[in-house]
Amino acid sequence: MNQIVHIFHKDCRRLWSTIAAVLVFTFLHGYGDATLSPGGGVAVGLSPFAIVFILISLSWLILPVLLFLLVVSVIQEESLVGSDKFWLTRPYDRARLFLGKLLFVVLWAFLPMLLHDVCLIRHFGFSLSSAFGLLLWKYAQFGFFLLVAATVAVLSASFARAVLLAVIAIVVAALTFFIVLQKADGPPVGSWTTTYEMLAVLVVAAVGALCVIAFQYRFRITSVAAMIGVAAILVCALLARFWPPSLTAYLLRKNESPLLRSIQILPDASLNDLARPRDLPNPTTQPPAAYYPFRASGLSDDVGVDLVGSTAHLDSPDRKSASLYLAAVVRFQPPAGRLGQFANIGSPDQLVSFAPSNPEGYNRLKNTDGMLSGNLVLQAFRSAVARMPVPAPRSRQDLAVGSRRCKVESFLRGPTLVLSFDCVELEPGNTSQFQVHLLHDNQEIKGPTTGNSGQSSSAGGWPAFLSPIVRTYSTSEFELPGVGLAGELPSGLEMVIFAEQSLGASVRTFRVEHFRPSEFTSQAWEQRGLHAPQ
């Protein structure tokens, strides 16, 4: 224990400036997340405020670099590369040396970040218990980042070489994945497989990194350790290449919520009064699709489901087969009136479009009475709605809808009402849609005329592990006829805000015993009669 503390103390003394920089930038990053609206300010000149503002703006880049520097530096204090290092002939216990480094990383990288996250979570009024699962995932990502830094540190003797090695590792990984995955020609199934596949690849990569570190601490043979690293990259690429979709389907089924489990999507040829499907993503290049009616059952009042992917096969009686994929996302939801629980009118009965992977093979089967079967990938969502009076111009009002906490502000620009929403939610931010409608005396005002989805502080950006919250800034503009220059809002103005919150994904199997593609083209359905899409 004494040796662990002794090494830790020495490292603190050596790297105090880097530690201080990490702490300062962690604070600045947290301060920026807590106080500044994304895109909400412009620094002018070189005043102290402007400098702080610039540093806050750059903290997303500087902080990871500093954390990388901190981890690399502390490991290279007792470098595992080279034979002239002073510590090699001293009675260091390798396990204690490793623990000393671990203590350092936990105290100066993990703990400040945890404190930063807890403060932000509490600042925005979220409970720590609700954020626990998200924090676990965030720290898994953070740990992976630090593990990568530690891996390049044990294989190099200086920070510059560590950076070079990291770049080489990225290039090697990109090339390996490119070479291994370019021959993957499975049916396009959308992005639904990425979560488990990515998770598995990350776990293997983390195990590989730990093996490299452990090997170097035990044997100090850099070339062999580097080979282990390359082998781990290759294993990751092969795992991604040969990851079985059935395993993803099994995991999705196993982990789905009871709410999602109760939802069924079944083909039903007898359905009528169907809406016209939305246009295909690229009707000019897309091969002609076949449409089949499906009905969603088990939907509760505020829950809908998006069909986001499919792997299907059309099998003819003479054992010929064609692969099909989902041509366009389809939404199933309970029937609801305008401005009810959902932002748009929808239905549990929808036409689902299937497009062939290989149009030539498919054309040979289009007049055959075959069997269509496969998997459907669903993503469920819960729609939350908030209805409240529009706040007076220049005043702010708090609003909670779905998993978002927002501050809404209104102001008038001539006859245009601008509503600005500064919203936060916990990482990774599972609000998939956010829509604002305006009512005047219970009558909907057309709009919004313009609006933007805003920019997030960290959602979907790099690196996501830096912040526990996603902050989104958006505005919606509505034309208010009859508003004069007096700058007063007409009475009876209300806003209705819809937020859709993702409930996770699942996979369902389906089977259509008699499926003749030529009977289910869009022209055939038009002849049968379809009503306009909502």
Binding site: H6, R14, S83, D84, F86, L88, T89, R90, P91, Y92
Partner: protein
């Protein structure tokens, strides 16, 4: 007598090149063992293999009775190591460096440390990177001696030092060794540096051990011989292998005998030079022996 270090057919290869080959030697306890050889002979590789910094390609070595591959922290507490190439933590002040090292050694002797600091006149507050090369070596030596190691390994400790510093270090090592009967293993390419220091000596050339023995025996068996002949001298064709670098100058033949035994060598010379008028034997310095050996192997 027990051995502090012993090697058994020790070989170390770097890819296809062999740095040391089939080394077998023993370093007796309480000896000051000079490990000699020209630059690139494999001295540092041997030492790093002994210290488990390098892994031997074949053969084995024991250090303080333990396989060098299994040198534990406890065993390293009994070994001091100073090398000319060692990278010391330059950001540390001398005081902090000594303090930092102290925590690793339960047997640290603060009094000995203080006296060595004074003896070497080390500037306590200065950072290691600001010190001269000689001062850094002194600091390294203090940090490697103050815990009274059973074995002190010095890899070219005097290389590049000015004579004054070198003498101070030698005196320091001699004094400590005499007081505490430690084993000192010192490598050097310059015999003059350690001639007055060592009790045993081994000579390495191109990775191969040429000899390893006690210095007195070595000096006993090497003699510079001068034979004066009648008329012009000629080197006989059947020349013994143990007689090195024969040179003739007029009536005089000079050579080095590496297996000197007074009666036997005299008789042998008389047999080789029947017309000799006189023979003289002169004891050799370690440096002269080293040079003779080096030249004879070219």
């Amino acid at each position: 007598m027990n051995s502090a270090i012993s090697t058994h057919h020790l070989t170390k290869k770097f890819l296809s090149s062999e740095a040391i080959h089939d080394l077998t030697f023993e370093v007796p306890e309480a000896s000051i063992f000079g490990y000699l050889g020209p630059n690139g002979a494999g001295k540092t590789t041997t030492i790093k293999t002994l210290m488990n910094i390098f892994v031997a390609s074949s053969g084995s070595a024991t250090v303080l009775g333990l396989d060098s591959r299994r040198l534990s922290p406890e065993r390293l507490q009994q070994i001091g190591y100073v090398s000319e190439n060692q990278e010391l933590p330059g950001w540390m002040s001398v005081d902090y460096y000594i303090d930092y090292c102290r925590a690793f050694y339960p047997n640290w002797d603060p009094a000995l440390c203080d006296s060595l600091m004074k003896q070497f006149d080390l500037p306590r507050k200065q950072k290691l990177k600001q010190l001269s090369r000689g001062m850094r070596m002194k600091a390294a030596l203090v940090s490697s001696i103050a815990y009274r190691p059973q074995l002190l390994i010095l890899d070219e400790p005097f290389s590049g030092l000015d004579p004054l510093v070198r003498d101070e270090l030698v005196e320091g090592i001699l004094a400590i060794s005499a007081d505490h009967r430690w084993t000192v293993f010192v490598s050097s390419h310059d015999l003059a540096e350690i001639e007055n220091l060592v009790t045993h000596v081994a000579y390495l050339d191109r990775g191969r051990l040429q000899f390893s023995e006690e210095l007195t025996w070595l000096q006993e068996r090497f003699r510079e011989v001068e034979v004066t002949c009648e008329g012009s001298a000629q080197v006989p064709t059947a020349w013994p292998k143990a007689w090195l670098k024969p040179e003739t100058s007029g009536a005089v033949v000079r050579f080095v005998v590496s297996d000197y035994a007074e009666d036997r060598t005299t008789a042998k010379i008389e047999a080789m030079f029947p017309r000799s008028r006189g023979v003289s034997f002169e004891a050799m310095s370690l440096r002269s022996i080293f040079v003779s050996l080096a030249k004879s192997r070219r």
